[in-house]
């Protein structure tokens, strides 16, 4: 969920840039290393990033009747890993602001933190954890994508409530307000995104249960 331009006060906008930048800089360094060693990976990364952008522009029905769009956070994290996703996610969020007026420039730091850092790390962590417990690929992918999506929304609600705490009940009260309002659209979206990502993974690997083939596909980009 993108925070719009101008919504955050100056201090918060700057603060989120400061918090996000170490992750993005670390991602840039590892991306540079990959590109130095194998310049041809550049085209794969660019194509994958463009793919994630196009995916986020796809319209999907939401249970509440409104149209919504997948974030691709879970899919990207599982395929490329969270460090490359921080860089790709930042570029994608910048293009979303400039090409479809989603999100903003001063709120880029906050949006990067929720969508290119927290979401991918939650997805990737869950995917690795569930795989190590021997959970089936379909269930792991669903959990990684749905909870990764949900975590971006919870992070955004936290960011908004920190910026606009409730006069009486403070940050916690504001969080309850923001979280419950956005839950109406975001929980169905998270479930839809989880299902969608399972469908994508199934189609990509022929059938669920062949993580090797996903790894081959991902091996093009992930080191």
């Amino acid at each position: 969920m993108h925070i719009m331009e101008g919504f955050l006060p100056v201090g918060h906008a700057v603060g989120w840039f400061v918090i996000s930048s170490p992750f993005v800089i670390a991602g840039c360094l590892s991306t540079r290393k990959i590109l130095r060693e194998r310049p041809e990976a550049r085209l794969n990364l660019a194509a994958s990033g463009a793919f994630a952008f196009v995916l986020s522009a796809l319209k999907m029905p939401s249970v509440t009747g409104s149209c919504t769009h997948p974030t691709g956070v879970g899919l990207g994290a599982v395929i490329f890993g969270p460090s490359v996703m921080a860089v790709l996610g930042t570029i994608i969020l910048l293009f979303q602001a400039l090409l479809i007026a989603h999100g903003g420039l001063t709120t880029l730091g906050a949006n990067v933190f929720s969508m290119a850092i927290v979401g991918p790390w939650v997805s990737y962590g869950l995917w690795r954890l569930l795989q190590s417990f021997g959970v089936s690929v379909a269930v792991s992918v669903f959990a990684a994508a749905a909870l990764g999506d949900l975590s971006t929304y919870v992070t955004t609600a936290v960011q908004l409530s920190l910026a606009y705490p409730d006069a009486e009940s403070g940050v916690v009260g504001a969080f309850v307000k923001f979280a419950s309002i956005y839950a109406v659209t975001q929980i169905p979206l998270a479930i839809a995104e989880g299902l969608l990502t399972v469908v994508v993974m199934n189609a990509l690997s022929g059938s669920a249960g062949k993580p090797d083939e996903i790894a081959i596909l991902a091996g093009e980009v992930r080191q």
Partner: protein, 241 residues
């Protein structure tokens, strides 16, 4: 695929110097965020005038682009103006003043961002970031991504139309399946296209550097002076009004 991008390439201020356009939009953006709501109102009107009268951006597109962010803003304002406590839902004390300031600032910020997006192609802006010191690998990656976006976007739109024509959007379940199929078919295509492009580039002696001709115009002193004067005037109003 993106009407904003088309407008960015076709508007009247397309060839204005990048430095002038970004100084105006980002300068006003900072003023809108840092100063009182009065300055934000001035920023919003200045940016709208610059975009609609100066750059001749289509008004329909200008206001159309605002719809989705304003929806987000409406939800935020409702959250700010209401409070929930043991007695149920009521109006928050001082919530209206706070909400008003938020609306002014957000709309002003939105106009600055839209001005930049609608008068300057994203590729120009990313190129500008490169000249400001962003590593060339990252700039190249972003520019390549920009070029891939439209190719893949066209494929996705075509796939979507084909699915719609075959009742792929008939039920919610089918829509999820259809969206999944598009995503699943698009990724291998994207990677395949990247592979073919890489072979084509490698056969032309490519070493991992993208050189493209950019038609840049240098910023003029008079333009920069006019922009600085506008910024200073709005800053004064915001500080003392």
């Amino acid at each position: 695929m993106s009407p904003i991008d088309r407008e960015a390439h076709l508007n009247r201020w397309r060839r204005k110097p990048l430095a002038e356009k970004t100084l105006l939009a980002l300068g006003l953006l900072v003023l809108a965020l840092a100063l009182k709501p009065a300055a934000a109102v001035l920023v919003a009107s200045t940016m709208s005038a610059a975009a609609l009268v100066g750059a001749r951006v289509s008004p329909r597109l200008w206001f159309g682009c605002m719809a989705a962010p304003l929806g987000f803003l409406a939800v935020g304002v409702v959250t700010l103006a209401l409070r929930v406590d043991a007695h149920g839902i009521g109006l928050a004390p001082g919530g209206f003043a706070e909400a008003g300031a938020l609306v002014a600032r957000s709309v002003a910020g939105l106009t600055c961002m839209l001005f930049l997006a609608l008068t300057t192609p994203a590729s120009d802006l990313v190129g500008g970031l490169g000249r400001l010191g962003l590593p060339s690998e990252i700039v190249d990656l972003a520019l390549l991504m920009y070029r891939f976006l439209f190719i893949l976007g066209d494929s996705a739109v075509a796939m979507d139309a084909a699915q719609a024509a075959r009742l792929g959007h008939a039920t919610a379940r089918r829509r999820v399946m259809s969206a999944g199929l598009i995503a699943a078919n698009l990724l291998p295509r994207a990677l395949d296209r990247a592979r073919r492009m890489e072979i084509a580039l490698a056969s032309r002696g490519w070493r991992g550097e993208m050189r493209v001709l950019a038609d840049r115009t240098a910023a003029t002193a008079s333009g920069l002076a006019a922009i600085s004067a506008t910024l200073a005037a709005i800053a004064l109003v915001g500080l003392f009004a």
